[in-house]
């Protein structure tokens, strides 16, 4: 069974992400510290406040970076994805993101926020993370910010809301990020988590 570490950023509900990862077939461990070994993939979840999550990710920055450098898969969800960019309008100026994806997170320029509910995806290229999903699949979103400044090469799917089209799924090597919540998106969401698990090499570590 693939061992997945879920980074505990403090106050959020981790029950949802752990339950769905388990359903997808993972052996889940929740920890606020990223160890060097003992897991096959890392999930940075997306709940709680920005600064709380930033603080935790910042503390573990070195470890997270070395996981990526060693080619172990990492998945960022919602806020977890946003922390993978260079920075965010929601954070302070010196709160520098992980920078796995080049770009900046901004408030979506529409009147009606937060963007809450099921929104269809428009996939723009073949990807590992969205493998097997039909174009137009619905995912559950809850956010007001998104990486509006980004590298087009990293984006694999978009969503349209309030007349604005923005990227919502990213893939670069074994670094993945989604703006929506696969753990709350029933079957299509579970499919994404299974895709992620399939990239994690199980059985190597104890």
């Amino acid at each position: 069974m693939k061992k997945i570490l879920v980074l505990d950023c403090g106050v959020g509900n981790l029950a949802s992400i752990s339950a769905s990862l388990k359903k997808a077939g993972a052996d889940v461990r929740i920890s606020s510290i990223v160890p060097e070994e003992g897991f096959d993939g890392l999930v940075i979840p997306g709940v709680g406040s920005y600064s709380a999550a930033f603080k935790k990710v910042d503390e573990q920055r070195g470890r997270i970076r070395s996981i990526v450098e060693n080619g172990r898969p990492v998945l960022g969800v919602c806020l977890g994805l946003q922390l993978m960019f260079n920075g965010s309008e929601e954070g302070k100026q010196d709160e520098e993101g992980l920078g796995f994806f080049r770009g900046f997170v901004k408030k979506i320029p529409v009147k009606r926020l937060p963007h809450i509910g099921w929104n269809s995806l428009e996939t723009v290229r073949k990807s590992v993370i969205l493998n097997g999903l039909e174009n137009g699949a619905y995912m559950y979103f809850v956010h007001s910010y998104a990486p509006l400044d980004y590298d087009e090469d990293d984006a694999v799917a978009y969503a349209s809301y309030g007349g604005i089209r923005f990227p919502v799924a990213f893939e670069k090597g074994k670094v993945f990020g989604v703006q929506f919540h696969p753990e709350k998106s029933w079957q299509p969401g579970l499919r994404i988590l299974r895709n992620f698990l399939s990239l994690c090499e199980g059985g190597k570590s104890v």
Partner: protein, 252 residues
């Protein structure tokens, strides 16, 4: 293609069991919350709401266990409300696996609860439930399960909720609730003009046409459904197919 309108089954839970009854009397047991929630998920429900109508703190502890059991198998958002009084109550339910918590009377008593919960747990998990009753030209907020008037103007109150950091408003018309004669569309329209956060329409659904009107003319983002489902009149899937045929974007 874009954001869909949501259909949200609401389950009244009393001491760990889903019940139905008319105005809190003649309660009849209809099933296990965790099982019913999964059944509705499989019918394409967009979210699930559990409303705890228990009267005692002991019975509320049962709810935490119910949420834990439910969260293991429910892969769509779960909102839990009823008797939520403090930031600690929010934390307890969220840790048990709820994705959102709804608060009603306690927020009216102390509006800072909205801001405190929102800043700790995030705006996305704070749903303010507002029970409104038509008074003259406007609507007044009632609390304590719709029994006690507050003197607050409902539209002013939902603006305050948005300002304090509420993520969504669950808006129930006391006049329409239980009548099965349709949602109060005028209330929904007035609320829609007052705030930008999503509005979930509640109270009065007796037919598919009523749901359609709340989501179109009323401008609601979501419709809470209770009796339409409980009497096995329709499945969630049937409701959504009907709406789709009439041009409402829903997830199927």
């Amino acid at each position: 293609m874009g954001l869909t309108k949501r259909i949200i089954p609401c389950l009244d839970v009393y001491d760990g069991v889903v019940v139905k009854g008319v105005k809190f009397s003649n309660l009849k047991r209809i099933g296990d919350p965790a099982e019913l929630a999964v059944k509705y998920m499989e019918q394409y429900a967009d979210e699930i709401v559990f409303l705890d109508i228990s009267a005692t703190p002991e019975e509320r502890e049962t709810m935490v266990e119910v949420v834990k059991r439910t969260a293991e198998n429910l892969f769509i958002p779960l909102t839990v409300g009823g008797g939520v009084r403090s930031v600690e109550d929010f934390g307890k339910l969220l840790r048990a696996g709820a994705d959102k918590v709804s608060v009603n009377t306690a927020a009216v008593k102390d509006r800072s609860l909205i801001r405190r919960a929102s800043s700790i747990f995030g705006q996305q998990c704070v749903v303010v439930a507002v029970d409104a009753k038509r008074v003259g030209e406007g609507w007044e907020v009632y609390v304590k399960a719709g029994k006690e008037p507050t003197g607050l103007d409902a539209l002013e109150w939902i603006k305050t909720c948005e300002y304090e950091g509420a993520g969504e408003i669950l808006l129930t018309s006391i006049d329409a609730d239980g009548t099965r004669l349709g949602y109060d569309v005028e209330l929904l329209q007035a609320a829609r003009r007052s705030v930008n956060i999503p509005i979930i329409a509640s109270g009065g659904a007796g037919s598919l046409q009523h749901v359609y009107e709340a989501l179109t003319r009323g401008g609601a983002d979501a419709a809470l459904i209770a009796s339409l489902l409980h009497y096995d009149q329709y499945s969630v899937l049937e409701i959504k197919k009907w709406l789709k045929e009439r041009g409402v974007e829903v997830r199927l």
